[in-house]
């Protein structure tokens, strides 16, 4: 059984948002929608203060509240144990958005034709070429780059991380790099106490 997962080290993450843009361009998401985000924050009081960064997207929970909540089964687990949305089945009720504790899901409120990146102008050829991948009225989120991983590549965010703070691999393979690093670094998921059992692990969370 493959179970794809990811590990993110927020103690070496530079907060450059390259992963955000890699995901954006890989998937040509509608204007305003970002499957990967990096939440910026800070801690401490001057002068003992600093910045925090949290790259976050769908956690691909193995006990996903969104899958449970979806009335039509549009949100489901794929063959790699990741959560996917079948746009043909999605009725746009957005129950899954309320169910997700990680804010991972976003909705196609309008169509890409009416919402070009350059507001007030026509869609760029890039958008025109890829708009059909994002039908109006469905919920979207990180797909763990299933198109790329099927070809043996890493997800776009992992490949582009300029500090190599992301690791991707098979959580079911104890010899994989990701399993070793998770064990070595004591990585654990976000908001573990919720019991959603994500496939994304973090190092360096405060």
């Amino acid at each position: 059984m493959t179970h794809y997962g990811m590990m993110i080290d927020v103690s070496t993450c530079a907060g450059c948002d390259a992963c955000v843009m890699a995901c954006k361009y890989q998937n040509a998401t509608p204007h305003g929608m970002y499957w990967c985000k990096v939440i910026k924050g800070e801690y401490g009081t001057y002068p003992n203060s600093g910045q925090t960064v949290l790259p976050i997207g769908c956690q691909h929970c193995t006990n996903a509240p969104c899958v449970r909540a979806c009335p039509t089964g549009a949100s489901h687990y794929d063959e790699n144990g990741n959560v996917q949305v079948d746009y043909d089945k999605c009725i746009g009720c957005r129950m899954c958005m309320g169910a997700c504790p990680y804010g991972a899901r976003e909705f196609n409120w309008g169509s890409m034709d009416e919402n070009p990146y350059y507001e007030g102008f026509e869609q760029t050829p890039y958008e025109q070429m890829r708009a059909s991948e994002h039908p109006r009225g469905v919920v979207e989120k990180c797909v763990m780059c299933n198109g790329r991983t099927a070809q043996g590549k890493e997800p776009a965010c992992v490949q582009t991380c300029i500090t190599k703070s992301r690791v991707f691999g098979d959580l079911d393979d104890p010899d994989s790099e990701i399993c070793k690093q998770i064990a070595e670094k004591g990585a654990h998921p976000l908001m573990e106490e919720l019991g959603t059992r994500p496939s994304v692990y973090y190092v360096g969370l405060q």
């Binding site: 449970r68 089964g73 309320g98 504790p101 009225g137 976000l190 919720l194």
Partner: protein, 404 residues
């Protein structure tokens, strides 16, 4: 003051064609807005990824409750053999039917991908509370329709049997609706008492709406409820308010006491963005009506009863608003790590500052008002048609001078 009159001696004023036309026109505008929404997508509303349920789902919650309340009253009357209440069974069921249809309509207009709705039936996910709601609301609607049919036909026995199914279904319908919210660990909705709260507010708001509907019908001499029954219903309403208040009180205490993240949500409700709605409900939706109705003397005054009932309905509406919106806004008060940073500058803690998070747009309001108008329209038609003959007061009362 209500007109008391021998049944049939004062002229019955069915809802006029003009009135019907006006509401039909409003409905048409709503339909137009909906067509626009279908063509352009939900972007025409004020919804966003941060606040992805708004007016439509608020009214959905509201109308499921109103509907359940009406039917709970009507069917308990038959289950527990409360004669006086049996008399208002038909208008109650009409009310309830209209309300549940409105609730369904609100869900439908909220769907982003309504063209895929058949998927609910070909591949339902039975773990989803939404599917439970589809099932139970469908059952509930069928029961409502059967109830109307059999009451109009006068089939007492069938109605009695049906009521034994209707009552638990009515309770279930609003409990299931509550579970859509209450079972989600991601939001402040997550509490075991959500279903009891919903059922309690269904009872008090449903009953209050019923009372208002009955007042309206009596004014037009379409259906006569009578003093005594109004007084009893008001008394029952007072009890329901007390129960509702108790459940809410329990929930608030549980939220606030540990001083944790739920307390942050409570702050938003008590002092922040959704505070106006919260306090309206508490003060004008619970305390004031209860204080009015707890005294028998007040229950005899039609005006006070109307006032109290209206306040209860509005109060429960406000509860739906703060319940829905606080869940989306509260994470910003406590800086949950996964939220959109640009909303940080919107102050969740400023009194009444809901607008930056969610403001319904004109098309959205148009659709909402249109659905409401449709509901009123259908109610009026059904009353015109079905309530011509029935009356709560079959035996002519002591002949009195007609007033006015």
């Amino acid at each position: 003051m209500a007109k008391t009159d021998i049944a049939g001696t004062a002229p019955r004023r069915p809802f006029s064609k003009t009135m019907l036309a006006v509401f039909a026109a409003i409905t048409a505008v709503g339909v137009g807005c909906w067509v626009w929404q279908l063509m352009s997508g939900l972007q025409v509303t004020g919804l966003s990824d941060t606040n992805n349920w708004g007016s439509y789902m608020i009214f959905f919650m509201f109308f499921v409750g109103l509907s359940a309340g009406g039917l709970i009253v009507a069917s308990s009357a038959h289950v527990f053999n409360i004669e006086p209440f049996k008399k208002v069974a038909l208008p109650a069921v009409i009310c309830s039917t209209v309300c549940i249809c409105l609730a369904a309509a609100f869900v439908l207009v909220d769907l982003g991908g309504i063209q895929n709705i058949w998927r609910l039936f070909t591949g339902p996910n039975f773990a989803s509370p939404l599917i439970w709601d589809v099932c139970v609301i469908s059952l509930y609607l069928i029961i409502n329709i059967l109830d109307i049919v059999w009451i109009v036909k006068g089939d007492e026995r069938k109605v009695n049997v049906l009521s034994r199914f209707a009552l638990p279904t009515a309770i279930a319908v609003h409990s299931v609706t509550a579970w859509i919210f209450g079972l989600q660990i991601a939001r402040t909705w997550n509490t075991a008492i959500m279903a009891p709260i919903f059922v309690a507010s269904a009872c008090d708001s449903g009953l209050a709406l019923l009372i208002l509907a009955l007042v309206w019908l009596e004014r037009r001499n379409i259906f006569r409820t009578g003093e005594k029954l109004f007084k009893s219903l008001s008394g029952l309403l007072a009890v329901f308010i007390a129960v509702d208040a108790f459940f809410i009180g329990c929930e608030l205490l549980t939220m606030g006491y540990p001083g944790g993240s739920e307390a942050e949500a409570l702050k938003v409700m008590a002092f922040g963005a959704t505070a106006p709605f919260f306090w309206f409900e508490v003060v004008f939706g619970l305390v004031v009506p209860f204080v009015i109705l707890v005294f028998a003397k007040n229950r005899e005054k039609r005006g006070l009863v109307i006032l109290a009932s209206a306040l209860v309905v509005l109060g429960v509406f406000c509860k739906r608003v703060w319940l829905m919106l606080t869940a989306f806004i509260a994470p910003y008060a406590e800086h949950v790590p996964t939220m959109m940073t640009d909303y940080l500058s919107y102050d969740a803690m400023t009194f009444g500052s809901v607008a930056p998070f969610y403001t319904p747009t004109l098309p959205e309001l148009g659709i909402t008002v249109g659905v409401l108008a449709l509901g009123v329209l259908v109610f009026m038609v059904l009353c015109n048609v079905l309530l011509g003959k029935a009356s709560a007061d079959p035996a002519p009362a002591v002949a009195q001078k007609s007033e006015g």
